[in-house]
């Protein structure tokens, strides 16, 4: 039997859809519990809605490259399994790498090899599924203890705690940014970084000057698109 018949079967659709549907249910449950707690903490419903709308609008743009990757993976792995993998833990790069490792371990040249068959496809599903679950496993066993410990430290009501959070935050973002801003060979990335930065600051200023809140409310998606667009502009000029 051709593995693609299995990969595109109703059974596969059902299996994959059940995971995706559960993930949506999980998101709804978390929203429900957190919304209630947010009200308790005195966060205005309008504020929560605003943050959520911003997240929704913003998330469309980084989802687009995943769509492209989905279509690429679909050619060799069928419609449903790549859809599942990219909807849950997977990232585009990881899924490709995992599938590639399996095909090479089975003596093929890659996932596009015509000898790719049902046993290899099944093995690829296994490897793709178990290779990247460790963040979830860690959470199941250790997140509660980490949370308890951290809350205990924070409970000491120390004035340093907010500074600590900021320091951790900027520590992470500075390490993530540095490879882009120090790479003189990839000026396009520096242009994107700088133009997105300028845009986000401008959004703040414009909002202050005009009092049109909506500009600042969507400053992240706006800056992201300006940053990406300036990469196109820069590449076409140079």
């Amino acid at each position: 039997m051709n593995y693609l018949e299995v990969a595109n079967s109703k059974l596969m659709l059902g299996l994959c859809a059940s995971v995706v549907i559960f993930v949506l249910i999980q998101a709804v449950l978390f929203i429900k519990v957190s919304w209630k707690r947010g009200l308790e903490l005195g966060i205005k419903p309008a504020t929560m809605k605003k943050a959520m709308t911003n997240a929704a609008v913003f998330s469309v743009v980084p989802s687009l490259p995943i769509v492209v990757m989905l279509m690429v993976l679909t050619v060799n792995l069928g419609q449903y399994f790549p859809w599942l993998r990219l909807s849950v833990v997977g990232s585009a790069a990881y899924e490709n790498m995992a599938a590639d490792i399996v095909s090479k371990a089975s003596g093929l040249s890659g996932i596009a090899d015509p000898r790719f068959d049902l046993p290899i496809f099944t093995m690829a599903m296994w490897v793709m599924s178990v290779g990247i679950i460790w963040g979830i496993v860690f959470n199941i066993f250790f997140m509660k203890s980490l949370d308890r410990f951290s809350k205990k430290v924070k409970g000491s009501n120390n004035r340093f705690i907010p500074i600590l959070s900021s320091a951790l935050f900027i520590g992470m973002l500075s390490l993530m940014s540095a490879p882009y801003i120090t790479n003189a060979e990839n000026i396009t990335a520096i242009v994107s970084f700088a133009s997105a930065a300028v845009t986000v600051l401008l959004c703040g200023q414009v909002t202050k000057a005009t009092n049109i809140r909506i500009i600042d409310d969507f400053s992240l998606p706006i800056s992201l698109i300006v940053g990406m667009a300036s990469a196109i502009v820069y590449t076409s000029i140079v």
Partner: protein, 230 residues
């Protein structure tokens, strides 16, 4: 008295989130494993566990330590609920973390605070929803039509630069606001990239993360103690 009841409520919420996080993580994990398992049994395929372990071994050796370090690092910013959710839906760096950070900025709450954790959960849950819906739509209907447009060479530099654009938008407002806290981590990160190469730092980012975060905290603590942050 009021304070005790506030603390009690906080505790109740923390317990609820951890319970919800654990239970939903276990169910998602079980469902994910059910996919290959069902196919293996249903089509009676002889899968060699040794071969799977050998092929997955390299990936596990690479991703398991990263997962531990990253989750602890992410926790400090998006809280337990945020980490439970984003580990299941993935795309943390390029989507979940930015949407949470931006949401917290909009709501004027600090990362790592009780309110910050709530906003993070709401933003990450919505972000997961959007990705899942966009992918479902793409798979079922629009994928074939929009892929030719999205794969146009003209757009390639835009998609290749999502990360720097995101980081520029997230980092710079913070640096402007807290320049003193930003100096040390940026100096350390830039020195690392210049001496070791940016590619190397990116490849082993998970291992450099705790180092830089720790140095950032130490510098902040010294400034705090010496009254420089007042």
């Amino acid at each position: 008295m009021l304070e005790t009841s506030d603390n009690d409520r906080a505790l109740v919420f923390d317990n609820t989130i951890n319970r919800l996080g654990r239970v939903t993580s276990i169910i998602s994990l079980a469902l994910m494993i059910t996919v290959p398992l069902t196919v293996t049994i249903f089509y009676n395929i002889d899968v060699n566990a040794g071969e799977v372990a050998a092929a997955a071994g390299g990936l596990i050796a690479m991703f398991a330590p990263m997962a531990v370090i990253e989750n602890i690092s992410y926790y400090s910013i998006i809280g337990a609920g945020g980490v439970y959710l984003s580990c299941i839906t993935g795309n943390i760096m390029n989507m979940k973390l930015p949407s949470a950070i931006s949401g917290m900025k909009l709501a004027c709450v600090e990362p790592g605070s009780a309110k910050g954790d709530i906003i993070s959960i709401l933003c990450i849950a919505i972000s997961s929803f959007v990705t899942v819906l966009v992918l479902a739509f793409s798979m079922l209907i629009i994928g074939e039509y929009i892929t030719p447009y999205l794969s146009k060479p003209l757009l390639a530099p835009a998609f290749a630069n999502i990360m720097p654009a995101l980081l520029g938008a997230l980092v710079v407002p913070f640096v402007v606001k807290s320049i003193k806290l930003s100096v040390t981590p940026f100096a350390v990160s830039i020195v690392l990239c210049v001496t070791l190469g940016g590619g190397f730092v990116q490849r082993y980012q998970s291992y450099f993360l705790p180092v830089v975060m720790l140095m950032s905290v130490l510098a902040a603590y010294m400034m705090y103690k010496s009254g420089m942050l007042d």
